[in-house]
Symmetry: D2
Subunit: 259 residues, 4 copies
């Protein structure tokens, strides 16, 4: 355990009077002008030099997670920006706090199910058992279902198509998701959408992102998406309109203010 | 002004039952597997198709802003992660709240000075006036000086070198920074470091990022850096050690607990 | 300056194996069961034993700042709670980030004007100068005006009434606000509302709260208000309704999704 | 379910041109100058007029949760304040994000165990079963144990003493905690500290605070504590010292910067 004589260490960054280093690389000599943001981000997060396939998968995942219109996350960012425009980072932080159980939690939960299927002696039976458990407890199956996109979530379909086309990937996470999908359909008696969250879990798993790091990719990508919402808010403000609209739509019920 | 009959609009995203669109592009058909994260991010933020030079500049700026070791931002993220590991997004949000006036505020303030110099009839005189104002009021010159890297901040040097090599950029922001640098040196009577913040302001300005959007690039990039800190914290926790170290280093003075 | 041999110190809290101390007080012996939350909060913030008048003023200020219905702050908290209900503190934090320049910044700016009037040799002339400056630059006068409550903000009226009734207060901040109010009315040619923010600035000033600490009282009070919004959200959820309402009210304009 | 024709409602606040109402009360007439902050907070959160005993319990709980020195929460707040002093609310928000599973999560988990014991036909057996489960899985028993205060956490002892002295409380939560404590000691074979978190869970339960609202009291109280840390930071800054201390204490290991 860490102590004054046995302190924790960091491998992420160091600096001298004349240089800065990200892990073992010289920032100025090795990275600037030579590597992309996705490349350096992945090097820092995974602790290894990313392969071209890692970059392709990461880029497509980050793009998919960036934006979905006026979500709770984006609305929160716009309202906070309106209230404290001197403080852009606070508006982004507020929106990022939405990246919780309701959305990315399902990504992680799906990833854990995929691991369980991969580890099982009989993957098909394991997938069926999982699907039956969720049906019995009427709990949502993480990675499946979408209130809007059905029967096919076009993002999930494309993500899996791109993932399958990568010969360098082992393919076991994608296959586990397919196995689970078949079991889910069988138990439901009808086709259930694989959603973007489920496909992202499989693809990030394929390039070796641990389950408890996956949420970080949603955070990074959403940060970029929220900055775009702030730029739009600077150009054509919606905050006051949202405030008025919500205040008007949700009535007060009580005795206050009555004659 | 926005009203129920004249609502604000969004251009960022829409969706149909079978498709998702980022601005005018079809996410699945036009972007996934074809564009990088930097490309789509820039398209969403700037509202135009980025040129290759825009991507090169953005990538190098994002890389430079990602990481500087155990900064206040990274320490805050690690401590919050230790306290609420179920909530990665909260730890990143906490660290992002450090992206305030002390660091990125100087980027914006530097950018405003560059605009002032560019707009002036006599840029050299304007730069001298700016340098003298700051000396007279003993206020820090935004974009100049570094407590560690001097006389040259290697990141700033490289950023400007890369910027000057791009023939598609107008070069006026970089020249304004050079003009300001000469004035600052003259007024100080010795060479003063152009820091990374100053060089970033010039480069983002060159690709058309408005001053009040610049901070967003620091937020996006730092989000990635902070995720890497969380991954390291998962692998070799430092939070408890930081807590003990700080508690021990800062003594309580008062009457409490005395016999 | 702080250094390893001259570290900063804390006076807020210490603990031994058998006791905990807030400043010089023994938590268990001196505070628990004997002092109210307002009392201990004020002792910790101001570094002195609060007088009864301090408690009365603080209580009324905190009550006034707690709640104003479905504000941007409350809407943001509800949306984040919906997205991450496992993480109540994130929802409150998101809402607190709204406590920025648009609202409490005006409290601080008003407080600074009051100090300027008190420090002036001729307070009436100073107040007139301030009112004319703001009119000339068409900038909002901090502490004055309300989009809803006019000509009288009932909270401000009551706050000032309660403040004037306290014989232990010096009264100079309240008088400075009255002087400013008269000047604002004269320059405008009509009565302009003193708003709650202006009255709070005067009252907190009367009990010795420094200007740059005032915002903290809004943060504490709003934290309580936002917890009440979360409780209501637990009982009758509004988050999904807000999301749908806003998404529907703000149309996408662009080429995406067109045939 | 909420819809445009069946919208959610709010009972928390409404306003007219001349009045503001918190629930059914008139803010100016009924609350200002007549009620304390604790009283109004509790009225808003619980939706009922609090009894004197509710106020006494809430005050002592809030006091106990306010402060524990240079905790991760307080350190994060100080570092963020140093980075963005224009943005006090961001520094408090950052610190509040520490109010997660490691600390207040245990309060909620303890509260759930108390409910389980109360609901059981044989409370003693249920408590023993709980204690054995936790021992078998080597998981921490929520509400028990403290790394510093043992064998007795003086705050917990006092909280329970104050709670037992209140004749208006049913006492069932406190008794359930005592039952659990006896079982925990029996299973451990030695006395295990009831910590402040456990006692707070029992006391908040006694006044009718639902388990999933309890965390809110920690958030409100800690907000006040963090404001006091910011005031101390304004008076004698520690942020830079903390940064330097941590950076120095945690070495970089890697190849970067080596000759």
């Amino acid at each position: 355990m860490a102590s004054p004589t046995n302190p924790p260490v960091t491998r992420l960054c160091t600096h001298t009077l004349t240089s800065l280093h990200y892990r073992d690389a010289d920032l100025v000599e090795d990275l600037m002008g030579k590597r992309t943001f996705t490349e350096v981000m992945l090097m820092q997060i995974l602790g290894r030099t990313p392969r071209p396939v890692d970059l392709r998968i990461t880029d497509v995942v980050l793009i998919v997670l960036m934006e979905h219109g006026l979500t709770p996350s984006a609305i929160a960012t716009r309202l906070i920006y309106m209230s404290a425009p001197e403080n852009l980072q606070g508006a982004v932080s507020a929106g990022l706090l939405a990246v919780g159980s309701s959305f990315v939690g399902t990504m992680e939960n799906c990833s854990r199910l995929l691991d369980r299927i991969i580890a099982a002696a009989a993957p098909d039976s394991e997938a069926l058992a999982i699907a039956r458990e969720h049906k019995a407890t009427k709990s949502a199956m993480p990675g499946f279902g979408h209130h809007l996109h059905k029967p096919v979530d076009p993002r999930a379909y494309k993500l899996l198509e791109l993932g399958r086309a990568e010969s360098e990937l082992a393919g076991d996470k994608i296959r586990a998701l397919e196995t689970l999908s078949k079991a889910v359909d069988d138990v439901a008696g009808r086709p259930i959408t694989i959603n973007a969250t489920g496909a992202v879990a499989a693809l990030l798993g394929e390039i070796g992102v641990p389950t408890n790091v996956m949420r970080g990719f949603a955070v990074i990508s959403r940060a970029a998406g929220l900055v775009a919402h702030i730029v739009e808010e600077q150009q054509s403000p919606s905050g006051r309109f949202i405030w008025d609209t919500v205040e008007h739509a949700i009535p007060y019920v009580g005795e206050g203010g009555k004659a």
